[in-house]
Amino acid sequence: MLSLAERRPTGRTAYWLIMLPAVAMLLLIYLVPLADVLLTSVTDPKPGFGNYAMLFTSSSVQRALLTTLRIAAITTAVALLLGYLVAYAMRAASSRTQRFMLFCVLLPFWISVLVRSFAWLTLLRGSGPVNNALMAMGLIDEPLALVRNETGVLIGMIHVMLPYAILTLYANMRGIDIGLVAAARSLGASRLQAFRMVFLPLTRPGLIGAGTLVFILSLGFYVTPALLGGGKVLMIAEYVAVQINDTLRWGLGTMLATTLMIAVLGALWALSRVVDVKRLFGA
């Protein structure tokens, strides 16, 4: 079907005009401050790339970066694995069940990350219901350290990231003709073979897309590590906040923010070389 714009080329200008206020607002409230951040990173405390040199010289900065990369990588791997299973089950379910499952996946989106973090704290703390239940069953003697450490941060982050992984993978799997698997089976492939040689390769773009998306979002986590990490898991976003609010080293803070942004844009660019980003996110 032809879109309205294609039928009446003169309408195109009108659409641009409609978008103008939004674009102008974005420019004003997003790009201008962003430019200021960029500028601060090369001018404070003195002009030059001194702040960027700290990426290579400061063990404190490097440690925060490494922690961030490690946590983002583990989160991505686990979220992909769990998300793949759920998305696969959704793909195979009846359309009514699919709708119900979709609803369950989307539900946590409406609850703020802050509330979810506090919920995890309540559930997983030393004297919380999870540890109490495990001890009552005699499985453990001492409460497990499930929160206020890196484990807690990972649990919290994977929980937040799962819907992103599931939805991206599900969108991809929906585009796959399930008849192909049946065809492979009819040609003598075992269940596992049909999955491994037919279905899995077809979901590769979904895996790459979901992986990149989850990884990028994980890089910028702030509330979850700050609350669930017990003050001992310092990721880049919190490191930036400390520099801006407490130590007042704005140059260092903005440099890290800029670095993070460049890394994210780089990852998106790399992604766009491998898969059709627009199709992936349903645009």
């Binding site: 440690r63 004297s127 407490d246």
Partner: protein, 370 residues
């Protein structure tokens, strides 16, 4: 459900206590709204600022009502033709710098702390205290410095669970670092002031040798500590950790240890022993327009009556030792400024922090997250 509401109260610290009674939250917020509106009006017309109107800046919430009742009202009774507006938006360092550098100074009196006064004073951001009008003999010598004078005392104190170890309780930081004798989760604030001192005391450093702080020694102690501890960012989070049994011993602000004890009906308690005491203080931005009235106001806040009253309404420790004579034993038990309690504590090293706070904070964070 009520637990959920309690938790929200905890987090936001809207709980207001006087003599053990809890004010209904709605009434309290209503009062804040009433009191908070006037200062906003005052801030909109800086040109009007003159000797008859002072602008007092504090951190809002309970402090607005408390300071109004204990300090502003008695002052206005003495000088009925003057005015004082309370602005609860917080005199943060960056806002002070911005205001003084822009040359449009609309604040007169700011509620901060002594080590910030020693940090910002030499930068030229503050007026020197006029000790010809302010009677500094009303406070201890360590609470009167060139650019600020103490207005109340708070302390980081050893807080603990009274039931965890069968009647035995920790009494020193050495006990807190004794993981065998006192097993359980520790809680510290992820800020250097108080946390570094506790580590050094646990390592056997006497009070008079704490400053200048040996960073390596203090951080090594915390590297041993960290797997046993949570390091909270927000004080209410620390308070909550004690309250719900997640943490069993550690360090907490005295003004949070008191409500904690009330909430847990004595399950959690604290000791003044080896606490680290700090002076909140009045500072005056360079170029403040209030003139002589500023110093007269500051001087009036040091009177024992108002000082004692703020302990009862807000838990602020009187900086004037005379105030404890107006308080009975029950109130003095929670008073960090009471001579008996004060003597057990280490006065926080304001000169050291004025120079080293930024580096110390970064090094502590690095040590904890390595």
């Amino acid at each position: 459900m009520s637990d959920y509401r309690d938790r929200l109260d905890d987090i936001e610290q809207f709980v207001e206590r006087t003599e053990g009674k809890v004010y209904p939250r709605r009434i309290f917020l209503g009062m804040c709204a009433v009191l908070g509106l006037a200062p906003i009006g005052a801030r909109l017309k800086p040109a009007m600022a003159d000797q008859s109107e002072l602008v007092l800046v504090n951190w809002g919430g309970d402090a607005i009502r408390g300071m109004k009742n204990a300090w502003v009202d008695p002052y206005l009774k003495k000088y009925p033709d003057r005015k004082v507006a309370i602005d609860g938006t917080g005199p943060s360092t960056s806002r002070i710098r911005l205001m003084v550098q822009s040359g449009k100074v609309t604040w007169d009196v700011m509620d901060r702390n002594l080590h910030t006064a020693l940090e910002l004073g030499p930068e030229g951001m503050l007026e020197k205290m006029d000790y010809s009008i302010i009677d500094k003999s009303k406070v201890r010598p360590e609470h009167a410095v060139e650019w600020g004078i103490g207005n109340y005392i708070y302390a980081m104190v050893l807080t603990y669970n009274t039931k965890k170890w069968g009647g035995e309780v920790p009494t020193s930081w050495k006990d807190v670092w004794d993981f065998k004798k006192f097993p359980g989760k520790r809680a510290f604030r992820r800020e250097p002031d108080g946390v570094l001192e506790a580590a050094l005391m646990a390592d056997g450093v006497p009070f008079d040798k704490i400053y200048p702080i040996d960073m390596k020694r203090a951080l090594d102690m915390h590297k041993k500590m960290k797997e046993h501890a949570i390091y909270y960012n927000v004080i209410a989070d620390g308070q909550n950790a004690f309250r719900n049994g997640e943490a069993h011993l550690g360090q907490l602000l005295n003004t949070r240890a008191w409500p904690l004890k009330q909430d847990t009906k004595g399950l959690c308690d604290w000791t003044w022993n080896q606490g680290i005491s700090w002076g909140a203080c009045w500072m005056v931005p360079k170029g403040a327009a209030g003139g002589k009235a500023i110093w007269e106001f500051i001087n009036s806040t040091l009177e024992p009556e108002g000082q004692a009253q703020l302990l009862k309404t807000n838990g602020y420790g009187p900086v004037n030792p005379e105030a404890s004579k107006l308080l009975d034993a029950e109130w003095n038990a929670i008073n960090p400024g009471d001579p008996a309690n004060y003597a057990k504590m280490l006065p926080g090293g304001i000169a050291w922090y004025a120079k080293n706070a930024t580096t110390a904070r970064q090094e502590l964070i690095d040590a904890l997250s390595s």
